[in-house]
């Protein structure tokens, strides 16, 4: 789903960013319409950026710096810049497939379907999170559950319930969006029993590459409150000149 993509286009998408705040943000906007506009913003967008990913688990902490390219929702490429030991390790997402390139053995490995729920690069994101880009309109029923102030901030809250036939592991997702600029504040993912599974929070909203975006997103698993993965965007540019052919296994292996 849309909320977690860590590629730059994903951030934009997530946020519904790039949309000028509607003149009358306080007017009741149909839930579906808001989300639909988010989706539209996404399409055809391309991006390039650098982000830092901090992963904290009970057993270790690490920080990776990665460079990322994306095109629409179907293509993206992420390559590790540091730590040096892992530099060049890269992930290619093309359509629904994920390939990992391992410089040490100089091989690209396609992640098998059975591992799509597994962690991506040791983070709290799953491989599925990377490829299951925005299908909100298609996969979810969207319901506006709240329209008003929370801690003095005007927000909308949505409950997204997957269609029975949608390939979604969540029972439902609660989403909070700031009305003033359409910035998402959090997404809470609940499992099929209605128990909170994980929470995504966005923060540090600012200008990056000419767009107002949340520069930080943080994922926290509910069952391990001390663990988290934090993604901080350092550079972002949009609408770059990039072709689908860029997202090839060849590119994956190049270490530029």
């Amino acid at each position: 789903m849309n909320g977690i993509s860590i590629t730059a286009a994903g951030v934009v998408a997530t946020l519904g960013l790039g949309m000028a705040p509607p003149a009358g943000a306080q007017t009741l906007v149909a839930a579906r319409e808001i989300i639909e506009r988010v989706d539209q913003v996404l399409r055809g967008d391309s991006s390039h950026g650098v982000f830092r990913m901090e992963v904290v688990t009970e057993h270790w902490e690490r920080e990776l710096v990665m460079e990322t390219w994306s095109l629409g929702t179907d293509y993206s490429l992420v390559r590790v810049q540091s730590p040096v030991r892992e530099a060049g390790t890269a992930t290619l997402m093309a359509d629904d497939d994920i390939w990992n390139y391992l410089p040490k053995v100089d091989r690209a490995i396609k992640i098998p379907a059975s591992m799509m729920a597994g962690a991506w690069m040791g983070s709290h994101f799953t491989n599925d999170d990377l490829v299951k880009e925005s299908q909100l309109i298609k996969d979810y029923d969207i319901e506006l559950t709240y329209d008003g102030d929370r801690n003095g901030v005007a927000v909308w809250e949505f409950r997204l319930t997957p269609h029975p036939e949608a390939a979604v592991v969540w029972g439902y997702v609660d989403y909070q969006v700031r009305q003033v600029d359409y910035m998402p504040l959090f997404a809470r993912y609940y499992d099929e029993d209605g128990a909170l599974a994980r929470t995504m929070r966005w923060s540090d909203f600012r200008d990056l590459g000419g767009r107002f975006v949340p520069a930080v997103m943080e994922m926290q698993p509910a069952d391990k409150p001390k663990e988290r993965t934090k993604v901080v965007y350092e550079e972002l540019e949009f609408n770059i000149d990039i072709e689908p052919s860029f997202f090839s296994l060849q590119m994956l292996k190049s270490r530029r």
Binding site: V55, T57, E58, H59, W60, E61, R62, R85, E86, T89, N100, L102, K104, V105, R107, I109, K110, I111, P112, S114, M115, A119, M121, G122
Partner: protein
């Protein structure tokens, strides 16, 4: 009259109709054989299953860190973060007299990949020198040889080899999340291909030396997940596990010693089901036998109504008549028992020592996640032999009760005059 004399009378009465007696006795003997054999066979299946489950891949006792089960986390190594002195631990465990073999293991989830094909798999680190003493699945590789430590060599299952389209000597990539959060990855060469017959293991297990796996997943050499122990007999695993737990307690590590009866409770249930099951078999067989004996005895007492009438007329008490008939039945029981054990014991001995191979009929069987050799293996269970023998005698006597009562109530005058 002494019991001996009663029995002699019974014995002589048997041979009034030698053919009929022989047929009835043979029937009982075959019943006896059926009971002993079926029980032996069912126990053979259970024993085969337990032995396979505890010797093919897993052992009879597993020693882990206290928190390891059930999640089997990569980080829950024996001795925690600092690990332990593995060779010292191995020595301590193997000092127990019941322990036949012990070996360390390390587990990790990972990907095994060749060309475009990738399998999600379980990586199992073994000690190539100790492991063969313990588990059977590496005894006969379908191809190649055991991996040698330090050479990045790996064994995979037959099904995985098929899916990855690789053979011995090919290079594959192994990827596994490391204990430090990094993505461990390296090239390995396939040293051999194993076959357990268990689909999930043959399709998903990669087996490599402990040290190589530890290097891949950035785990210190002192950190292992498991010690696997085998004992001489699966049925002493429980007490051995208790002893090992006491032995290891003073070391001060948080350790759990679990026998297979705890790890595989469904097997224990199956075995106790089998135990209760054969009482039912004994019951059914003997009810049938009882009806057969009752029939014969009814016939023979009916024919001899006049004999009983004469006995009664001459002053024999009804109790004595009952005794005559019951002793006849007892003699029948003893005769059947002699014939029965004469048939049964040699067959059981032969069958136990040379179980016929039924693989031409069944192929291989798996049940409860264990592989069974398709042999008709039978187990000795002398107490069942004795129980079945006693049951046979009791059956014969019970079956004779009604005919005996009928015989004792023959009206002498009417019977003798009514000719």
């Amino acid at each position: 009259m002494s019991p001996n004399t009663w029995l002699r009378i019974g014995w002589r009465n048997l041979w009034r109709h030698p053919t009929r007696t022989a047929i009835t006795a043979l029937g009982l003997a075959v019943g006896y054989f059926a009971v002993v054999f079926i029980v032996g066979w069912t126990e053979g299946i259970a024993a085969e299953m337990v032995e396979n489950a505890t010797s093919l891949v897993s052992g009879q006792i597993e020693i882990h860190a206290g928190e390891y089960r059930p999640e089997r986390s990569l980080y829950e190594t024996i001795g925690g973060r600092n690990g332990t002195d593995v060779s010292e631990l191995l020595q301590a465990v193997s000092a127990d007299p019941a322990v036949v073999a012990v070996a360390p293991r390390v587990y990790a989830g990972g990907l095994i990949s060749s060309g475009d094909a990738t399998s999600a798999g379980m990586l199992m680190g073994i000690d190539p020198l100790l492991e063969p003493n313990l588990s059977r699945f590496l005894d006969e590789l379908s191809d190649g040889r055991l991996p040698i430590t330090g050479r990045n060599e790996l064994l995979i299952g037959e099904e995985m080899a098929r899916q990855l389209v690789v053979e011995v000597g090919d290079e594959i990539v192994v990827v596994a999340p490391g204990a430090d959060g990094s993505m461990g990855n390296d090239l390995f060469q396939i040293a051999g291909i194993f076959r357990t017959g268990l689909a999930e293991i043959d399709a998903s297990f990669g087996v490599l030396p402990v040290a190589d796996l530890q290097a891949l997943i950035v785990l210190d050499p002192g950190r292992i997940h498991e010690l696997v122990v085998s004992t001489a007999d699966p049925w002493i695993a429980e007490e051995t596990a208790e002893r090992l737990a006491d032995l290891l307690a003073p070391i001060g590590l948080d350790i759990e010693v679990a026998p297979w009866t705890e790890l595989r409770p469904e097997m224990v249930e199956y075995v106790s089901l089998v135990d209760s099951f054969y009482f039912i078999i004994i019951g059914v067989v003997f009810v049938i036998a009882m009806l057969g004996v009752a029939n014969t005895m009814l016939m023979s007492t009916f024919e001899r109504r006049r004999e009983f009438a004469v006995m009664l007329a001459l002053g024999a008490t009804p109790v004595k008549v009952v005794m005559v008939v019951l002793h006849e039945a007892a003699a029948m029981g003893l005769l059947s028992l002699v014939i029965g054990s004469g048939i049964t014991i040699p067959i059981m001995i032969w069958w136990h020592n040379a179980p016929p191979d039924m693989s031409w009929l069944y192929g291989e069987l798996t049940a409860f996640g264990t592989l069974m050799r398709p042999t008709l293996r039978v187990e000795y269970n002398v107490s069942v032999w004795i129980q079945a023998g006693l049951a046979l005698l009791v059956t014969a006597l019970l079956a004779a009760l009604y005919p005996a009562a009928r015989a004792a109530r023959v009206p002498p005058a009417d019977t003798l005059s009514g000719v």
